[in-house]
Amino acid sequence: MSEALLEVKSLKVQFPVEAGPLTRSKDFVRAVDDVSFSIEPGETVGLVGESGCGKTTLGRAVIRLVEPTAGQVIFEGQDLARLKGAALRAQRRKFQMIFQDPYASLNPRARVENIIGEALDIHHLAPNSTARRQRVESLLKDVGLDPSHAHRYPHEFSGGQRQRIGIARALAVEPKLIVCDEPVSALDVSVQAQIVNLLRDLQQEHGIAYLFVAHDLAVVRHISRRILVMYLGRIVETGEARAVCQSPRHPYTQALISAVPVVDPNSKRQRIILAGDVPSPIHPPAGCPFHPRCPVAEARCKTEVPALRETAPGRRVACHLAK
């Protein structure tokens, strides 16, 4: 196994539930609960789960946009969870983020050249204004936009084009890791495919590693080499993308896969329809967090928390019953 670019160890993120200013909150939202995984250089790891499962928080905690409560985030041998102030800011050029909402992720009052150029300014990557302009233009070309549009404002672009600007901003500092937080879920289907392909191309060209966060399993499957499935703040299954999608071991993954809408009218799959809703992460169920909705739950699932154990090489499942 090669040296990992990023290694997350027992990461926990908790938010206190809003309470009065004088009463100390005793309840916590356990957004991320004891999560460990690693990403190798140039690899894409997909992170799938439903809303509220903590996948966005995990993505943000990895690059310290959210403060971890406990655990380590080791990036190139350095624990990011311990870094502070200027030291952290200097490290930031090595890992970047692409956001979900192409309308909220670009400053509406800045021109494209400044949105992308800001990255260069912060890390002093352009010695003069000519170099800055040339770099911005070449970045725009890289993401498939017309360099002459650099002086425009974000509202002059379509959703897909805005997302490309966001990608150019992330690329500007030549990061080694990009956390993609649902980068295509706000886009039209025909534009989604363009962005997914662009991300693939950029990865091959620059050797960037991705942590690709999404709720759409089909998109994640397409771009990732490995997949992490998350439920209520925990990872319930991980493995090679193809293996996880073809033979899911955890009952939650199975349900998730069967729920993916399929265009082909000939595939007569039996759908597994899960009963009930995702429980609140403030008071997660005892035992296996999935047991109230699980079609195969047994008595011990209500009391014993299943460990994430290896069922096959490179395959881990957190279920008592998985083989």
Partner: protein, 307 residues
């Protein structure tokens, strides 16, 4: 809900204490000799000395503040420098007038502003909406004392519709209250309008229409209650500016209320009276905010279960 109100109550107390602290420093820590104001500019040194002793004017400000707060804790607001009357008593005598004036005004403008706001929102961009906007903006720009003087002259003095002169009975409050209402109605009509416009664009109003609900039902049942939520908040916060307006109205119409008392005490440099009136109006504002909070939980169920 109960914990929320208790927390709120606790914070109100802290706010009031802070207000007392601030006002006391403001009123007492400034240069100038209060004794000269009390005794007049020609007073002898002995008299001044005596006054200094009587009112502890030579003590450090913080010590006097301490005394004042202890006094406050016993419910004592002190005595006027000028008339030696108990401040609390002076305020309580004048409070009913101010209370009657303001409540009458509130009823008047709310009764006018809500239908105006709803109708202008329903018939957006019509001539009716535009006229209301102009009138509302003008009403927002009127100086209270000037409007009061003009109305008093035209309606009471010239036309004789209202009694002129000193305050005798409740009827005499109609014109002053109407003046106050005119000053506030424009702002509130626009506030209701803005919120109604937003609510009328909301998805649940579309859903109500999709159900087949009539336009009246949509406006007054589905939309209005939601639109009133921010208006009620504003109403609580605006009590302070309302009291500011009251001050001028009472002054022009020579009504024996708190506002007039405040003006007199400022002109006389009557420190305990200034402190008293400021603290009293601050208490009113804080109290009003508290009531609004209560109303809020009732009007918006999302708040109630938030804690």
């Amino acid at each position: 809900m109960l914990t929320r109100l208790l927390t709120r109550f606790w914070w109100s107390a802290v706010t009031l204490l802070g207000t007392a602290f601030l006002t006391f420093l403001l009123v007492n820590a400034v240069p100038g000799d209060v004794a000269r104001v009390i005794a007049g500019s020609k007073a002898s040194a002995e008299v001044l000395q005596e006054i200094h002793l009587k009112y502890h004017l030579d003590d450090p400000v913080l010590q006097r503040l301490g005394f004042y707060l202890i006094q406050l804790a016993h419910g004592d607001l002190g005595h006027s420098y000028v008339t030696d009357q108990s401040v609390a008593e002076a305020i309580l005598i004048r409070f009913p007038t101010t209370a009657a004036l303001t409540s009458l005004a509130v009823v008047m403008w709310v009764a006018l502003a809500v239908p105006l706001g709803v109708l202008t929102a329903r018939f957006r961009s019509s001539w009716f909406d535009r006229t209301t906007l102009v009138v509302a903006t003008v009403s927002l720009s009127l100086p209270a004392f000037w409007l009061a003087r003009i109305l008093q002259y035209c309606l009471a003095y010239k036309l004789g519709w209202f009694p002129v002169g000193f305050f005798r009975s409740f009827v005499d409050l109609l014109l002053p209250a109407a003046t106050l209402a005119i000053l506030m109605v424009g702002y509130y009509a626009r506030l209701v309008h803005t919120n109604m416009v937003e609510v009328l664009d909301s998805l649940y109003v579309r859903a109500a229409r999709a159900k087949g609900a009539s336009e009246t039902r949509v406006l007054f049942k589905h939309a209005l209650r939601n639109a009133l939520i921010p208006v009620v908040t504003m109403l609580g916060m605006d009590v302070a500016s309302l009291l500011g307006g009251v001050l001028f109205i009472e002054n022009v119409f020579a009504l024996p209320g708190i506002g007039n008392l405040a003006v007199q005490s400022v002109l006389n440099l009557d420190v305990p009276m200034i402190m008293g009136t400021v603290l009293f109006s601050a208490t009113l504002v804080v109290g009003a905010n508290w009531v609004v909070d209560l109303l809020y939980g009732w009007i918006d169920p999302r708040i109630k279960s938030a804690s």
